[in-house]
Amino acid sequence: MKPDTDTPSGGGDALARDLHWRRYRFPDALYGYGAWIVVLSFLAFSVQYLEIPLGRIPDMFARMGAVLATRYYPPDLEYILDRDYMDYVVETIQMAYLGTLFGLLLSVPLGWFGAWNMTPSRRYVYPVARLVTMGFRAVHEMIFAILFVSILGYGMLAGVLALTFFCAGFAGKLFAEEIEAIDMGPVEAMRATGANLFQVMAFGVMPQVRVAFTGIGIYTWDVAFRAATVVGFVGAGGMGWYLKRNVLQIETERVAAILLSIVVLVLISEAVSAIARDRVMKMR
């Protein structure tokens, strides 16, 4: 094409040539649309393979409504308002914050060692820390719970340990990312005064990340509490055990009551965390 200057042209004969425009260019369009076609075909294949009865889904919703209305209503509130259950609820809360606490304690070194800019050794410590964090994150908290129950027996020890490792992985990655995002200026200043690594962390890094860490801590509590309510399902302590018992016995109204109590507790916990997070944000 003739190199036109970037100013308005007279038009006319120059137009006739390039009045030809096509939206779909080969091969660029191919990659973009190709990827979509692959994804969509896989999804269609999945529906087929898993034998999902697409046609019956509207039916299912109707049935869902019916089942909920008859067998799950009214929820057996008396069952959950009794002393034993309340004890379990308190236990659940204790499990949750012990798990969060120990998990956060573990995650501080994990996050520090897993931060590319502040790790003591990039060749050995960093990859190990990253691998460990990834490992903790990859394993679902329920699987941790089952494994610990199998090794240590039923009870809250298994639950607390499961929550601890889960929180360590969860917060560890977030901490590492937070540390990697800091301004290195204060760190350089600290290093220049001859401080050792620990002092550099304490005075150069911590002040910058303190607020964000608190926020992450609160977020971790949220997630841990949610998990704590259900680890009892596999015997790791807490109100989840009640859930399992009643599911097995098909005491649907009691199950409804327990689920309700779980939802209410989690919502309360979230409300409290939201307030705490607000306060933390104001600290900025």
Binding site: D4, T5, A14, D18, L19, W21
Partner: protein, 250 residues
């Protein structure tokens, strides 16, 4: 017969806010390149937006081709907007889309939902878009993403988009405020040339008084929502300018 008749236009943003426009009246003829000048906050932007109802005036009348605009709703409002092209200070292009798609978007008022979904504009539209892009000098940038262009180039896309509508009136909201002085002049000249070529009157909200005096044939001066001056450019002088911009000096 005037294309646009504005009578006693008043506007305010909410019942607790002060009035932004106070009884503004003027007419626009078919060959006008009309300027609205005034200090910041005088209501220039609001006045422009009352014409195509992006802002709802609280009272007064706006008649476009002898049709009352202030009471239109839904489909009729959209038809009105099809006939009025708008060029924005910040260009308001769809950044992630190509120049061609941005220009074609000027025809959305004439395009059905299904065609919109697949961006299947009629061939006539594509041809017209290419012609316009040629006219504004962007024929080499047709498939570039809008955010890859310079400010001046983006505004030219904006001009092409407005003209794609085949408008009967163009509203210009400080079209050059975001551009440097040399480009500003080029853009104003381009707009004026093309407006004349397509026979479209323009109502231009402009901050730079010199540009207004150079390109426009009639001027309205607003101060604090009130019309302080209304007449041909020749009648504008320093004394009247001082009066309009009095607040700014203070």
């Amino acid at each position: 017969m005037p294309i646009l008749e504005v009578r006693d236009l008043c506007a305010r943003y909410s019942s607790s806010d002060p009035e932004v426009l106070k009884n503004v009246s003027f007419d626009i003829e078919a060959d006008d390149f009309f300027a609205i000048i005034g200090p910041s906050g005088s209501g220039k932007s609001t006045l422009i937006r009352c014409i195509n109802r992006l802002v709802q005036p609280t009272s007064g009348s706006v008649r476009f081709y002898d049709r009352e605009v202030t009471t239109l709703r839904g489909g009729q409002l959209r038809e009105l907007r099809r006939d009025i092209g708008m060029i924005f200070q910040e260009f308001n292009l769809i950044n992630r889309m190509s120049v061609m798609d941005n220009v074609l978007s000027g025809r959305l008022g004439y395009t059905g939902n299904l065609r919109t979904l697949f961006r299947a504009f009629p061939r006539e539209d594509v041809r017209h878009a290419l012609e316009l892009l040629h006219r504004v000098g962007l024929q080499d940038h047709v498939d570039k993403r809008a955010d890859e262009l310079s400010g001046g180039q983006r505004q030219r896309v904006g001009i092409a988009r407005a003209l794609m509508q085949g408008p009967k009136l163009m509203l210009l909201d400080e079209p050059t405020s975001a551009l440097d002085p040399k480009i500003s002049r080029e853009i104003m000249a381009l707009i004026k040339t093309m407006a004349k070529e397509f026979g479209v009157p323009c109502l231009c909200n402009i901050h730079d008084v010199r540009l207004a005096m150079e390109f426009c044939n009639k001027i309205i001066g607003l101060q604090d929502g009130v019309k302080m001056f209304h007449g041909p450019t020749e009648q504008m002088d320093q004394a009247k300018l001082d009066q309009i911009y009095m607040m700014e000096v203070l």
